[in-house]
Symmetry: C2
Subunit: 315 residues, 2 copies
């Protein structure tokens, strides 16, 4: 089966939101009056962002999920995406599996696949996602102010625990391993929470490279510092029986969490909790924004811990 | 130098058209009232779309040029793009070179780089380009009608000639080789022509996989057939001294031409020529659309030639 048949069979559906989908030189999309287009691209490389053992359905889910997570962090509503990928060969089982996982998530969020590219090469998936957000209401990294409270959605650390189990540095029971692996391979983008936080959160970012590193991006963009208490960070129940140092490094520097980290003035605490309830997403207050530029991480005894750096693909 | 420093140094400039550029989870872009967003993604893989010998500047140029060519084929005005790429290592010479070529072309067309991704992996560049076109005026593949004339911009075949010279199947003098190589590595997207053809052309496509294969996409989308005369196809002057079979295969199935192939009713011939003059782009009438579904290729003696298939990455 050739390139065009693979695309026709697995990647082409009539768009519901776009004016023109797959099949021409460009796709066409209308952006509603008063809305801004929000755009983000993420590239996933085999051996770097996913293991060769990942089931294709989960790979398709994750490739879209990490992009939707970027829209969530801006409070944008997903509209459509393009998928460009290189494959070592025209493996229909791989393509069909990836697209099953992709479509399940795309359908859940009403996202049209409107274009892309399919080529031969080492396995690599690049998705560009398009969303819309009312003009001036996007959540940015630059809006955090001293006194703001620091919030995080869901729980942290399970994806990193799975990675350590795959690496053999941690032993997990079969059930715990499956749960951790699901966290790593099937992250749930916090789209509903992001949209509910418009006009409530003062800043937001999604957690992809580890909380400490991602928080530093917010601090740098906002020109502020932060104090977080490691004991207040919502760790995955799977971490409960693990040594404290592993628990701390998984929640502070785990990566692949795809939760939202956001700030809001204390006066908006009730609005934050209402947004969380409306989007059925648990949120936890885990620290506060302070003057200065430093990130201070405290343990339960009030002792300062060394804050880990974020992930760098070339460090 | 790490990922974030590389991005900060070479990939970050203040946007001129976008509301928010590189540095947040999403970029933000306003689409003018009455305009539709046009979107296209292309992925370039080393050894497949470019040779390891390509100078980095030319690689950066080509990665953007092939995407702008898709906007040109729709008659869209370029606005912005994202660049996601994987690199074997943090090679600043490579990054700086690619970005020099990229920025030179981006500046020439007023294109903002508004986001993307930089990761480790086999060399792969994926650009998603965003443009705008007045609602309902995009040039589509589906608009060709019987009696329409078939037009092509520029000249064809030089990029394929360069590829054959690299492969050693053709010998070229030093000067001819350099010219052919420029055609392959520094294609000029026909953006001005595409915009000038709004309301004039009935259909359009850009030539990336070879004229015969790309024309078949137009015929399939429009439900029509075509007759082309090989002798009327504008071949590159570099092909003048080559054997007829090589000339024919380079112009019919060469690939990497990035010229526009378009149709227009004979009554609009003067408007086609005016659009070509306004955009300073040579155009040549090379055939016509006919009823049916077949592509008929005739030589100068009126004999029918076998029409080559287009390029398929997995065939």
């Amino acid at each position: 089966m050739g390139e065009f048949e693979l695309i026709a069979r697995h990647c082409t559906r009539a768009p519901r939101r776009a004016a023109l989908g797959v099949g021409d030189d460009c796709a066409l999309l209308d952006i509603a009056p008063g809305q801004q287009l929000a755009v983000s691209s993420d590239m996933l490389v085999e051996g770097r962002h996913f293991l060769p053992t990942v089931p294709p359905e989960r790979l398709g889910h994750k490739a879209l999920a990490v992009n939707l997570s970027d829209l969530a962090a801006c409070g944008a509503e997903p509209l459509a995406c393009t998928l460009a990928w290189s494959l070592p060969r025209a493996d229909e089982d791989l393509v069909a599996g990836v697209m099953r996982g992709f479509w399940a998530l795309a359908d859940a969020y009403g996202v049209d696949l409107i274009g892309g590219d399919t080529t031969a090469g080492p396995l690599n998936l690049c998705i560009t996602v398009l969303g819309q957000v009312p003009r001036g209401q996007a959540l940015l990294r630059s809006g955090a102010r001293p006194e703001d409270e620091l919030w995080v959605s869901g729980t942290l650390g399970a994806a990193r625990l799975a990675l350590e189990a795959f690496r053999g540095t941690v032993q997990l029971t079969g059930e715990a391993f499956e749960q951790a692996r699901r966290a790593m391979e099937l992250p749930a983008p916090r789209v509903a929470l992001g949209m509910a936080l418009r006009g409530v959160a003062s800043s937001a970012i999604d957690l992809s490279d580890g909380l400490a590193g991602d928080l530093r991006h917010v601090l740098a963009a906002s020109g502020v510092g932060a104090e977080i208490n490691v004991g207040r960070l919502p760790h995955s129940p799977l971490l409960a029986g693990q040594p404290e140092t592993l628990r701390q490094s998984c929640v502070l520097a785990g990566g692949d969490d795809y939760e939202l980290l956001f700030t809001a003035p204390p006066s908006r605490r009730a609005q934050v909790l209402a947004a969380a309830a409306r989007s059925a997403t648990p949120v936890t207050c885990c620290g506060r924004i302070v003057p200065g530029r430093d990130l201070v991480v405290l343990d339960d005894a009030g002792q300062q811990l060394e804050a880990p750096r974020g992930f760098d693909h070339f460090a």
